[in-house]
Amino acid sequence: MRLPCPYCGERDSREFTYRGDATLTRPAVESEMADYVYQRDNPLGWHKEYWLHTVCRTWLAVERDTRTHALGPVSIARCERVGS
């Protein structure tokens, strides 16, 4: 699989580290923390997730089809967070 880092361009997956579900929001209350940390779906199909481009140290928000590795939009996660 290759991922297009918006900064570096397309690189192979060795340069990236998977950093989990990008749709979760850190809960405000303690009682929901365990689910936030440990509960994960294993979706079949499109999934929004974080990947760290380890060489340029940029977190990316990536949409990926877990069946085919087809990619949707890839953005720099920091920009997306600030924007939302």
């Binding site: 900064y7 570096c8 690189r11 192979d12 060795r14 340069e15 380890t54 060489v55 340029c56 140290r57 940029t58 720099i76």
Partner: protein
């Protein structure tokens, strides 16, 4: 009395030098050059600082490499001094901070007719001169080691690597280049060795 006496020495002072591998009749396919540990600065841009590459490149006697979003590495053959850092800080003002990494990262020159072929074994970057032109640089992996790779000539590249990984990378590069013939040149012979000149 300290428990250990700290010894200041270049990280590549004691690695393997000389000729390795199958030497073709026309000479070594690869020249590995340990660069003197003179000056290496890390520039970290503030949010919204814009592209400072042109600003940094305008300064004399320095090579600017792109090191990630809003980050640049500056290498120079001139030794680092407080004045160099202060001048750079004055130039950048609020736009960026400067961190001296002369102790933290080192440079290795890789040149010769098979330099691209050797690097292609380790990196995901397309090294076609039309894609990765002279003067371009990028962060990438060589094997498992994160490096900044720059093209400084058609058959000449320079790597910036964390000091602690330098010896391991040096040995990897020799190993990767055995089929081409590798001439490994120590830092004090930079530019003086008969075959050690990094040509453009």
């Amino acid at each position: 009395m300290p428990d250990f006496n700290l010894i200041h020495k270049a990280v590549l002072a004691d690695v393997r030098y000389g000729i390795f591998g199958n030497m073709p009749p026309e000479g070594p396919g690869i020249r590995l050059q340990a660069c003197p540990e003179t000056c290496l600065l890390h520039v970290l841009g503030a949010p919204g600082c814009g592209d400072l590459f042109t600003v940094l490149t305008a300064r004399p006697a320095c090579h600017v490499r792109v090191a990630g979003p809003s980050q640049w590495l500056i290498a120079s053959e001139d030794p680092i001094t407080d004045v160099v850092i202060r001048d750079l800080e004055d130039l950048l003002g609020e736009r960026a901070v400067v961190s001296d990494q002369t102790h933290g990262r080192i440079r290795i020159g890789i040149s010769g007719p098979r330099a691209s072929a050797l690097l292609a074994k380790g990196t995901a970057i397309d090294l076609d001169p039309a894609q990765f032109q002279t003067g371009k640089s990028a962060m990438t992996l060589i094997g498992h080691i994160t490096v900044n790779l720059a093209r400084i000539g058609h058959d000449a590249f320079e790597i910036i690597v964390l000091r602690g990984f330098a010896e391991s990378l040096w040995n990897d590069l020799i190993h990767m280049g055995l089929e081409y013939g590798v001439d490994c040149i120590p830092a004090h012979l930079a530019g003086k060795h008969p075959s050690g000149k990094i040509t453009g």
